[in-house]
């Protein structure tokens, strides 16, 4: 019995690390631009496919993961340059930006389906080393994953409070017009946010691809989970999204135990709906009462 709980705990920890980093990735873009970045699934998918295809050649794991992160960052910047910038320049409302991000996601996942097929792609060389703690099997990938996630979080935690980037992003999220009125230029900050977000998403994608395989339609669900975790966390760039990811993970685990694991996929969607309906009018909408909705 206790091994079942430990197994659940282990799975929860690994899954939770994934969600936490994705939530961070979403948060950086969301707070700096108020852009509901559903297209974060794209760097995620990019990192996953990159990792899977590189795993066949004899590339050392850290280089593999770095390359996946770089792919993610690159894709994210492309999305910024080709989609977000033009749409923002034409003063689109938030709903149109959301539609644009959804469009980007479908465009890219469609391309991925054409290029790689609709079936789940697995990494060709499955990493078999694993530890056995009693009856719980912990694979090397699991360990590497949690370790990387921890390192990322620790680095962010050390750098962030003192970082000018973090505080500037939060200032932007508070009131972007005021930010510009004070003479600050938001563009490099947004650029940095997109790069970081893409890198983190690519990293997550790489690990998810190596662990569970990837198919072109996995990007939307994780984007929504990440968005829920970020929103629950409020206006924060580190602890908020992580707390949100933790809460979402707990709710999902509880749902799996109480009902069955079939229903765990619906938890993020139900949470998103509840968040939108329960929140005050301004939860998702104009950041400032006088801004355009």
């Amino acid at each position: 019995m206790i091994w079942l709980w430990l197994e659940t705990l282990k799975n929860g920890l690994v899954q939770g690390s994934l969600l936490a980093i994705m939530a961070l990735a979403f948060a950086w873009v969301y707070h700096s631009t108020r852009f509901f970045h559903l297209a974060i699934g794209v760097p995620f998918l990019g990192g996953a496919y990159a990792a899977i295809f590189l795993a066949s050649s004899a590339v050392i794991p850290s280089a593999l993961v770095s390359f996946a992160a770089a792919c993610g960052a690159g894709l994210s910047l492309l999305i910024y340059g080709l989609v977000y910038q033009p749409v923002a320049r034409r003063n689109a409302s938030n709903s149109l930006r959301l539609v644009a991000s959804l469009g980007v996601y479908f465009f890219c996942s469609g391309l991925a389906a054409i290029a790689f097929g609709l079936d789940i792609k697995y990494a060709p060389t499955v990493i078999y080393d694993s530890l056995e703690l009693g009856r719980v099997i912990v694979t090397a990938t699991d360990i590497k994953y949690v370790a990387t996630a921890t390192i990322v979080i620790v680095v962010c935690a050390c750098v962030h409070p003192r970082s000018s980037l973090g505080s500037r992003v939060l200032a932007l999220s508070g009131n972007s017009s005021l930010f510009e009125a004070f003479g600050h230029n938001p563009s490099p900050i947004i650029l940095a946010a997109f790069t970081l977000s893409g890198a983190l998403a690519g990293l997550c994608g790489a690990y998810e691809g190596l662990r569970n395989g990837i198919d072109p339609n996995s990007g939307l669900a994780i984007a929504i989970s990440a968005s829920v975790a970020c929103i629950v966390g409020g206006r924060s760039l580190l602890w908020g999204p992580m707390l949100g990811a933790l809460m979402l993970g707990i709710i999902q685990a509880a749902t799996t135990q109480i009902f069955s694991d079939r229903w765990s996929d619906s938890v993020p969607y139900a949470c998103l709906l509840l968040l939108i309906l329960a929140g005050p009018r301004g939860l998702l909408g104009p950041a400032h009462p006088h801004e355009r909705p």
């Binding site: 509901f36 989609v83 033009p86 749409v87 034409r90 689109a92 409302s93 938030n94 709903s95 149109l96 930006r97 959301l98 539609v99 644009a100 959804l102 469009g103 980007v104 996601y105 479908f106 465009f107 890219c108 996942s109 469609g110 391309l111 389906a113 054409i114 097929g117 609709l118 072109p216 939307l220 669900a221 929504i224 079939r262 229903w263 996929d265 619906s266 969607y269 139900a270 998103l272 709906l273 939108i276 309906l277 009018r281 939860l283 998702l284 909408g285 104009p286 355009r292 909705p293």
Partner: protein, 289 residues
């Protein structure tokens, strides 16, 4: 020739979906992504009534339409209080949640396997089993619904809908309480989508969650945006455009899977171009900001 009838049938069903969605997108100005919820609801209700409860076709049709319409009630109530991107997101959340429910409520919906052997169209002893018969019957449904909606939006109701869409505060200041109308219009749009669902179910005799996946709902929105939201023929033009596309690719000998993927790519592209360039569509329609 049968292929032509198949196209007509598919056009009729897509057309019904497009004009019903246009009521919400073009005339109420809401970017709704959950039209498939009403479509699927109608289809499953019809399928259940005719396969499990063995009800006659007309009754199943009625049930499908009503269930589709009723599904709009929670959505309309929820969306009434929302503004901006919250509307789009909430509708997306409704859609994704509903698809999960279809997949998981296995006793009702057959889960991932879906429902099979749905009986063909028949009014009493008059069976419309042939492709030609179904094509004309479904086209008739489309024409009647289109005419009805045109009449509706051309009347004073259309004025109030546009007032609600473009000048909500002024409308309230002039004593117009349009909450009831909002709900009724939603119900109507959902009921017509439910009708389309019944037609689809009886035509293909098999429904499963894959049919109503996210991309199909988004595709409906693209149809309306492409054709011109709120215009007379816009949604129909959009439906035709998005129907001809995969068919024309099919002629080139591409397989079904690739067609689905290409469809997705085109949908994504249209959405991005639409939000960037904001064209008014083939038939100049309502402009979103």
């Amino acid at each position: 020739m049968n292929y032509l009838y198949h196209l007509i049938a598919m056009f009729a069903i897509s057309g019904l979906l497009a004009i019903s969605l246009d009521l919400l997108v073009g005339h109420l100005g809401l970017l709704i992504l959950c039209q498939s919820v009403f479509y699927a609801g109608g289809a499953y209700a019809f399928a259940l009534s005719t396969t499990q409860w063995h009800l006659p076709f007309q009754l199943g049709l009625l049930i499908g339409i009503v269930v589709g319409g009723l599904l709009s009630v929670p959505v309309a109530l929820a969306l009434r209080r929302l503004r901006g991107d919250a509307v789009v997101l909430a509708s997306l959340a409704f859609l994704l949640l509903f698809i999960e429910m279809i997949k998981n409520l296995r006793t009702f919906t057959g889960g991932l396997d879906g429902i099979q052997d749905i009986p063909p169209m028949g009014f009493g002893s008059l069976l419309i089993g042939s492709p030609a018969g179904f094509a004309w019957a479904s086209l008739a449904f489309l024409v009647i619904s289109w005419a009805f909606l045109q009449r509706l939006t051309g009347s004073s109701i259309g004025l109030f809908l546009h007032a609600l869409r473009d000048y909500p505060q002024l409308s309230t200041a002039l004593g117009q309480d349009l909450t009831g109308m909002h709900l009724k219009v939603f119900f109507l749009a959902a009921a017509i989508a439910g009708l389309a669902g019944c037609l689809y179910a009886t035509y293909s005799t098999y429904i499963s969650p894959d049919v109503f996946a996210t991309s199909s709902s988004v595709m409906l929105l693209v149809m309306v945006l492409l054709g011109g939201p709120g215009s007379r023929f816009g949604p129909l033009a959009g439906a035709m455009a998005l129907l001809i596309l995969p068919e024309s690719i099919r002629i080139l000998g591409v397989g079904n899977e690739a067609i689905g993927a290409i469809h997705q790519v085109v949908i994504g592209l249209v959405l991005v171009l639409f939000s960037g360039l904001r064209p008014k569509g083939i038939f100049r329609g309502y402009e979103f900001r």
